[in-house]
Amino acid sequence: MSKVGPFLLAFHIAFLIFIAAPIVVVVLVAFTPTAYLSIPTTEFSLRWFRAIFASRDFPASFVISLELATVAASCALAIGIPAAFALGRSFRVVHRMLAALFLSPLLVPAVVLGVSLLRFLNQMGWHGTFASLVLCHTVVILPYVIRLLLTAIAGFDHAVETAALSLGASRLQAFRRVILPLIMPGVVGAWLVAFIMSLDELTMTIFVASANTTTFPVRLFDYLTQSTDPLVASVSTVWIALITLAMILLDFVYGLDRLLVGRASNDRARSRG
């Protein structure tokens, strides 16, 4: 049963082409020498990559996105780690409900969240500030952080904590010297996932970003709805390269298959030592 016949193999290849096609096309168009969207066949040019620096908007929104994702991912970890520790091993109803609350922003459509936060920030007079954008992103990426940290905490042997405490370590020492190193792959993985999710967030951010806090995806969306020249392709290509770099890093510290498929097994983490 476990072999793949020629018919299935053809289907598989067609499927992979379907998945890769739009991304490959964007990267190819970025190297066109023409002023319109076309796939270069004989001549390749970097003019549209140089054009990125000539436009003031895109480099600025790149910086905003990177700053935002860095700060928001760190915030999400700062409040997510303590929360995950409090909730991780508890089966009390209150704690289960709290865990459900922290995971629930994932279940509400981004448009609904965006609309609600737009009105809320306007009422409070916080609209357009970088801090409010950070907090909005933190809410949206907190579910990913909590989920990965709960898995990491459930994964290690709790006898080692008891052992450390019985050998005279303080609770803080036990946490810092024993528990933290054990859950470190989970923590780094959670930060990177949060970072990527924040970088990629579009729909909610469209509503809460202002003219001077426009993130890269929002800028790209705005640009795309107005004009289409190969500049969109070249900035997208730089973006794809950036995300790919983050993904390779993530694969190295956490394992992409483990993350994307959400397998509970820790084989890979173990084999990495």
């Binding site: 299935l8 709290l98 279940l107």
Partner: protein, 295 residues
């Protein structure tokens, strides 16, 4: 551990949870409740948002055929996307499951990697492919299959293609996971008892991966129904869906109470699907104790 009045075991968990709780209440629960409240207020283009309570925003959606049609179109698009995602995602998951060692993980990265690349970038790729002067039309013209370029951009077809591309990885993940739980011996037993390959698929394999197909379908449907970027770029103003209408009401028309009513109905649709998901997969929910909730 002692269970005294003010021992650390008592107040420490509360202290640890406090920041996350504060954030979720202020930046999640309160804004959502406010949107629900807002949807019951009247709106006047001169006087703005009124203080009274009314159901007129909802009655306008239900009795105005323009908005009713947008809701119907959104559900129709989401249904077609779900059926297509299942019909190509299920075979792909089975193939991925059967592929030999180095190829399965390579293919998995190709299939799932795009999940992490911005929806705007991927949708832009489809705009380049499907446009009137796009690559697909160019190819078909050169092959002599069509005489004039096909109008695909700014139609439901473009939105469906773009959404299937964005959402099919979720179907593959769901089915692939259920394939791992499936019992291989039952397939071999059926084969040894004389069943042909199709019978084995229909009577043995399909029932075992059905939970995966169902959970994948619910995830794909709810994400498709609330999707914004893909219909906004590939449908533009010519094909409106619920999410793009909410966007227009909030950022162009500025009728916030009406936009809030549209949003609340979208939220109710998502929550209803979620409730269905929870009912169907309650057993699995319990086993993972909240650690694996959601898409």
């Amino acid at each position: 551990m002692t269970r005294g009045g003010l021992s650390p075991a008592r107040w420490l968990p509360a202290l640890l949870v406090a920041p996350a709780l504060a954030l979720c209440v202020v930046f999640f629960l309160v804004p959502l409740l406010e949107t629900v409240m807002l949807s019951f207020h009247p709106f006047d283009s001169m006087k703005g948002i009124g203080d009274a309570y009314t159901l007129e925003n909802y009655s306008r959606i239900i009795f105005d055929s323009f908005y009713l049609r947008i809701f119907a179109r959104t559900v129709a698009i989401a249904s077609v996307v779900t059926v297509l995602a299942a019909s190509i995602g299920v075979p792909e998951a089975i193939i991925l499951h059967r592929l030999p060692a180095p190829w399965n993980s390579v293919s998995l990265v190709v299939v799932l990697g795009p999940l992490l690349i911005s929806v705007v970038v991927r949708t832009f790729g489809w705009a380049v492919l499907l446009g009137n002067k796009g690559i697909l039309n160019d190819l078909l013209l050169r092959l002599g299959l069509i005489a004039e370029p096909l109008q695909i951009m700014y139609t439901e077809t473009a939105i469906v293609i773009g959404m299937v591309h964005v959402l099919v990885p979720f179907m593959v993940i769901a089915v692939w996971t259920s394939l791992h739980r499936q019992n291989r011996e039952t397939l071999l037993a059926a084969l040894s008892l004389g069943a042909n390959a199709f019978t084995v698929f229909r009577r043995i394999l399909l029932p075992q991966i059905m939970p995966g197909i169902l959970s994948g379908s619910l995830i794909v449907f709810s994400l498709a129904a609330s999707s914004f970027a893909t219909p906004a770029i590939l449908g533009s103003k010519r094909v409106r869906v619920v999410a793009t209408v909410a966007y227009e009401q909030f950022l162009n028309t500025l009728n916030w109470p009406f936009g809030a009513a549209v949003t609340v109905l979208l939220l109710l649709l998502s929550l209803a699907l979620l409730g269905l998901y929870a009912r169907l997969f309650e057993g699995r929910y319990r086993r993972y104790s909240g650690a694996g909730v959601g898409p």
